[in-house]
């Protein structure tokens, strides 16, 4: 009698575990934010407006590669690639590298053209604190495309902390 009870108990426990394992497939544990509601692009709005003149900035086509954890903010390697055939009709005209928290939000403004051949750039940047880094590309047709990456910086680049909050 006692023995039977324990087996049914075990069955119930196993059933429970199986049910629990199936749950995440049905409902994702971490809900994904809709891309439009993500904060990085919005927080950079004042400078974005200056760049785009109010034109919409779409996410995509730009690939920004940057370490998620940067040990030293003085030197953070960064790679940007833009999906573009780089022809006379369709090419990247300007590429902006923007920072959310640096005292000067525009890290670099890159001019490209059909002669560039490939819309790609690798450089090393400074970052004042953990933040989002945004790359915005202006195409030949005037459209804007962007990508944002969240970077954690353990040692900030800015020596005068009063400049940033």
């Amino acid at each position: 009698m006692n023995n039977r009870n324990t087996t049914t108990g075990r069955r119930r426990v196993l059933k429970g575990i199986a049910g629990g394992l199936l749950l995440p497939a049905a409902a994702p544990v971490w809900p994904q934010l809709p891309t439009a509601a993500r904060p990085p692009l919005l927080q950079l709005v004042p400078i974005l407006k200056e760049i785009t003149g109010g034109a919409p900035v779409r996410e995509g086509r730009v690939k920004l590669e940057i370490p998620h954890l940067a040990e030293n903010g003085h030197l953070v390697p960064l790679s940007v690639t833009v999906e573009s055939p780089m022809t006379a009709a369709d090419h990247v005209r300007t590429l902006y590298l923007l920072s959310e928290k640096n005292p000067r939000p525009v890290i670099a403004k890159i001019g490209m053209g059909p002669g560039t051949g490939r819309a790609a750039l690798t450089t090393r940047i400074r970052l004042a604190g953990a933040q989002h880094v945004v790359a915005v590309a202006q195409m030949a047709d005037g459209s804007f495309w962007a990508a944002a990456v969240d970077v954690i910086v353990t040692e900030t680049a800015c020596l005068d902390a009063s400049e940033i909050t």
């Binding site: 003085h74 670099a108 403004k109 001019g111 002669g115 560039t116 051949g117 490939r118 400074r126 020596l159």
Partner: protein, 106 residues
């Protein structure tokens, strides 16, 4: 005096997308640092860099204090004819620098 190291392949095929690298020796002073007497060190960055291939501009970079010291750039251009790849830059103090390398189309 601005010193730079550049890496441009000496040979390429016609129409090939060629990778170039440049590293300029420059402190890229942010303008936010103080010297030992507490005075602000003026901002001095390589504000403008242009890469020309046989006279035509293929790449341009306007850099601010967000670019790390000794700025390094790696980018591409399309090789068409034998000729020169020229880099020229100027910093906020007005100091100019340049470097060039020849490329042969095989």
């Amino acid at each position: 005096m601005s010193v730079a190291r550049i890496l441009v392949p000496s040979q390429a095929k016609r129409g090939e997308v060629v990778e170039v690298r440049i590293a300029i020796q420059h402190p890229m002073e942010t303008g936010f640092r103080m010297d030992n007497n507490g005075r602000a060190i003026p901002k001095n960055t390589v504000s403008n860099l242009v890469c020309r291939y046989n006279g035509a501009e293929v790449f341009r970079a306007e850099m601010g204090s967000g670019i790390a010291a000794n700025p390094y750039l790696q980018f591409y251009f399309v090789a068409q004819d034998s000729g020169n790849v020229e880099f020229s830059w100027v910093d906020d103090a007005g100091e100019k620098g340049s470097a060039s390398s020849a490329i042969t189309i095989a």
